[in-house]
């Protein structure tokens, strides 16, 4: 029953905050002759404010003892709240007797400060102590990656490096040192094993029967679903990781390499290692971290007039993509225009165009270029020399050109190259080993795939 009254605390607290603040402001205002007319209202305001402050104290006391809250924050809040109530009672009684403006002013100011502190502490209790400052932190506690990247994953500790950070970001605010909803704490090994008012939290080796996992997997609209609907939810990968940890004994000491790693968990672990545990989150991957200045409008206009399709790769960036699909018979100077947008050019398609070894010099300085297609052009090994310094290239397509191993050998600085397409070039299968040595991280594709002819390809199944 007392707990029932306690639950009115969050509603009632707003009354003393509002009324007493207004009363204090009015007290300070009445020192100016212009606002002297407010005076008669002040005792009434103080009276209501004081009454509501006292009620708040009692309801707050009941709530604190309902068991969901423990620790220093609550007791600070409690004592500050009691101070507010005492000071407002004093002010209420002496207001009409004290004539000194200074004394009244000081008391009103102190009351304002006390109310602010109490309010802030109360807010920290309900929303978590970092609630107010979270937006100021660059990593944005909300929705961001809960688990920081773990570079040397196999040697890392499962609990300490992955599970704990996960619980910290998703659970501690209600089940930690400041607040223990359902009498449950998840911030230390002993507490996790002890469980909450509904019994165990986890059963070692049986994730599906563990309350922790069960509640996470409840439908979002279920009252018992964790984390609560309005709070950031656990991602699929995070849930898979938790389950994997519990299924394998929920050990607090073991390293990743000590636990069996099935095919199912491997991709999850891989994403942990890369710090992509929110894999697929919309982000501008694939463009350089540093933004460039906008390209010169006149150049863009000239290129567009020459039927070159040129647009920013996305609306929020100045990096450009250029496609010569409609400008295949371009004049010599068109490619030269690229020189004035070399900083901005990110993707370039010159497929089937009239580009040759000589005109390709225009792209020599496109330092940020990451995708380049020269398919079916007259480019030879001589032309490839122009790409020597383009060390941001990630994808290079040379299909249907006359390039040979000699030409590719000039590209050893392209350490970021992920894909190199060599279908229908003069690079032979025997050259691949040499290229692999030169560019170990690059996936090479010489194409020439064949689909074998099977009986099924040429016959049909007939009705019996």
């Amino acid at each position: 029953m007392l707990e029932f009254f306690g639950r009115f605390h969050p509603v009632f607290v707003h009354l003393p905050i509002g009324i007493l603040l207004l009363a204090c402001i009015c007290i300070l205002l009445t020192f100016k002759a212009k606002f002297a007319g407010l005076k008669p209202a002040i005792p009434l305001m103080l009276l209501f404010g004081t009454l509501s402050a006292i009620i708040s104290c009692f309801t707050g006391y009941f709530l604190a003892h309902s068991g969901d809250y423990e620790g220093g924050l609550v007791s600070n809040h409690q004592w500050m709240g009691i101070n507010v109530a005492i000071l407002s009672v004093v002010l209420c009684i002496i207001y009409k007797k004290v004539k000194s403006k200074i004394a009244l002013g000081i008391m009103a100011t102190i009351l304002v400060v006390l109310i602010s502190i109490t309010g802030h502490l109360g807010g920290s209790l309900t929303h978590g102590s970092d609630y107010l400052t979270a937006p100021l932190k660059s990593d944005g506690a909300k929705g961001g990656a809960a688990i920081p990247a773990i570079p040397n994953l196999q040697e890392a500790f499962v609990y300490q490096n992955a599970i704990q950070p996960l619980l910290k970001s998703r659970c501690y605010s209600c089940h930690g040192s400041e607040k223990q909803k359902g009498k449950l704490r998840l911030d230390q090994e002993a507490y996790i094993l002890k469980g909450g008012e509904n019994g165990h939290t986890l059963i070692k080796g049986k994730a599906d029967e563990s309350e922790l996992i069960k509640r996470i997997l409840l439908p979002l609209n279920d009252e018992d679903h964790m984390a609560p609907k309005e709070k950031p939810q656990l991602s699929t990968n995070e849930i898979a990781l938790l389950k994997w940890w519990i299924d394998n004994g929920a050990d607090f000491k073991k390293k990743f390499k000590d636990l069996p790693q099935t095919a199912k968990i491997k991709p999850v672990l891989a994403s942990l290692e890369n710090g992509e545990n929110n894999a697929g989150e919309i982000k501008n991957s694939g463009i350089p971290a540093e933004e460039v200045s906008a390209a010169d409008d006149k150049t863009l206009k000239k290129l567009a007039d020459a039927s070159v399709i040129i647009v920013p790769v996305a609306q929020n960036t100045n990096y450009l993509s250029a496609n010569f699909v409609n400008a295949q018979s371009m004049s010599k100077d068109v490619l030269n225009l690229i020189k004035s947008i070399e900083k901005q050019l990110l993707w370039l398609k010159l497929e089937n165009s009239k580009v040759n070894d000589q005109t390709l010099t225009a792209i020599k300085g496109c330092k940020n270029l990451s995708r380049l297609s020269l398919n079916n052009t007259a480019i030879t090994d001589t032309g490839l020399a122009q790409l020597k310094e383009l060390d941001q290239l990630q994808s290079l397509s040379l299909v249907g050109t006359k390039v040979t191993l000699k030409g590719i050998n000039q590209l050893k600085k392209l350490k970021n190259l992920k894909f190199l397409y060599l279908y229908q070039t003069n690079v032979t299968k025997n050259d691949l080993a040499a290229i692999k040595k030169l560019l170990p991280k690059t996936s090479l594709d010489t194409g020439n795939y064949k689909v074998p002819v099977l009986v099924q390809d040429t016959t049909v199944v007939k009705a019996p």
Binding site: N284, G286, I309, V313, Y423, T446, Y449, P452, D457, V461
Partner: protein, 503 residues
């Protein structure tokens, strides 16, 4: 009056009427201050009403150049989409979703728990269970299960992401197809390709941005609405092309009309349209002019690009084309050519996958096997060919039907069908994607032990649409078009990007 005079009279009368019809509304707006005031008021209110306008994706729509390429809001991983739709709905249980448990139940009566409260298109009473009518094996490093119906494709499973727990709520072909492609089972919404070309324009100014190719001898059940532009400007509707004869009907100049005359006539028409535009300022007139110009350019470039005969013989062999015929293989080869030329969205429909078991051609053991044979080589060749040309990275290939098929054998009107067949099924089917920044060799979603319903990784049409848009650089929730007083989106009020399959 002579006959000629009568005709001339009629013509003039008709012209007057046409003019008056145009005029009446415009006249009203032009002449009446009230009307203009109301209009101004409307646009004023409109401009202050939308509180969330700044959050929404801004698409710069230029009616004079509706197909100019535009930047996506975010950097997309894919630049184009090839959507291979097997109209009629292929059976997941004979292709990708292997259920040994179902084999054990073969021939038994369907347990009542699977029938209670369910509605099927044809099944009535208690049907018999039907085991898998194909042999399955694990393939590739990912160990994905594919049946012997697709021997070529099964060598490529490590390039593909399978979505094995796709659900729908429509069990008839037309509404289900509309749902997959327009986000609504009813007519009138723009198709996905229209949204994409509206948002991104086209890379190639001499070709349509959204091309539709059909095979299998019949259109999809949902008809042309399934590639319609709905309330988006009509320039964004799919352009249906053919892989035999003229790629676009009536694209050739008629006999006796040479290129210069054609140019002169288009210039004259455009001049007249420009005058009309000067007078009325209707942006749709500018679109019209742009379309005439594009049609003129297309007359030159389309026959060249759309002619698959200039591809070398080994490519034809790879795809298994049948030159001169309208078939899926030809369309698939054409799709690759179009992607190479910068076409944004290529939609293929192949009709004839509706294996009910009511005839040999509609059975799992005959018709379905032959359909599989007709697509196995082309889809395999498409993935390999895109890969070797460096195009698979930026082209998203999607394969699927509009729903799945039941683990039960169909018993139409309570009588068992003469051939092995399955009824329409909404609760679980398989769709796969490849390229365009989705994972390789990955399977998402699971069905229960008989493949009746999805148990994990459930996705629906909206989720798939959201994912496709995501790969192209759009947040599907912000990509809207104002219509009838509210912003509309492809996924309406649903959809969640399937982040698990994004590489």
């Amino acid at each position: 009056m002579t006959r000629d005079e009568l005709n001339a009279h009629r013509l003039i009368k008709e012209a007057h009427e046409a003019n008056a019809r145009l005029h009446s509304r415009r006249h009203f707006l032009k002449e009446s201050a009230m009307g203009l005031g109301a209009l101004a008021m409307g646009s004023l209110l409109g401009s202050c009403g939308d509180l969330f306008a700044d959050k929404q994706t801004k698409i710069a729509y230029d009616p004079a150049h509706p197909l100019l390429p535009k930047s996506p809001p975010l950097v997309g991983k894919a630049k184009s989409v090839i959507y291979l739709h097997m109209a009629g709905a292929p059976s997941q249980l004979e292709l990708f979703d292997f259920k040994p448990e179902l084999m054990k139940m073969d021939g038994q009566d369907c347990p009542p728990s699977l029938l209670a409260g369910k509605k099927f298109a044809f099944i009535t009473g208690v049907p018999k269970m039907l085991g898998p009518q194909a042999t399955f094996a694990k393939h590739g490093q990912s160990g994905a299960l594919v049946s012997d119906n697709l021997p070529h494709f099964s060598t490529l499973v490590d390039e593909v992401t399978f979505l094995k727990a796709v659900k729908t709520d429509q069990f008839n072909h037309a509404p289900a197809q509309l749902l997959v492609h327009t986000g609504s089972p009813r007519l009138g919404r723009p198709s996905m390709g229209s949204w994409v070309t509206y948002g991104l324009g086209s890379e190639n100014q001499n070709l349509p941005g959204y091309v539709v190719l059909t095979s299998g001898g019949s259109f999809p059940d949902a008809g042309k609405s399934v590639w319609g532009s709905g309330f988006l400007p009509s320039v964004y509707q799919g352009v249906q092309c053919r892989s035999e004869g003229d790629p676009v009907l009536f694209i050739k100049d008629p006999d006796g009309m040479n290129r210069d005359l054609r140019k002169a006539s288009i210039e004259a028409i455009n001049k007249a349209n420009e005058q009309q535009y000067q007078e009325y300022n209707d942006p749709e007139i500018l679109s019209r002019i742009a379309q005439y110009e594009m049609a003129y350019r297309m007359q030159i470039s389309a026959p060249e690009v759309m002619n698959i005969n200039d591809e070398p013989a080994y490519i034809h062999e790879m795809y298994g084309t049948q030159p001169g015929k309208a078939c899926f293989a030809n369309n698939v080869l054409l799709a690759r050519k179009l992607v190479e030329k910068g076409v944004r969205y290529i939609q293929l429909f192949d009709w004839g996958w509706d294996a009910h078991g009511d005839s040999p051609n509609n059975s799992l053991n005959i018709g379905l096997k032959n359909k599989c044979r007709s697509i196995d080589r082309p889809i395999t060749a498409l993935l390999l060919d895109l890969k070797q040309r460096g195009l698979l990275e930026e082209t998203l290939v999607v394969w699927g039907g509009e729903f799945g098929r039941t683990p039960m054998m169909e018993n139409r009107n309570g009588i068992q069908n003469p051939f092995k067949g399955r009824d329409h099924h909404t609760e679980a089917f398989t769709i796969w994607m490849a390229g365009g920044g989705v994972k390789k060799g990955f399977t998402y979603g699971e069905t229960d032990e008989i493949g009746y319903s999805a148990i994990s990784g459930k996705v629906d049409a909206f989720d798939i649409q959201a994912t496709i848009l995501n790969q192209l650089g759009f947040d599907h929730e912000q990509f809207t078009y104002p219509f009838q007083g509210r912003p509309f989106r492809l996924t309406d009020v649903a959809g969640k990007v399937i982040r698990e399959v994004v590489a």
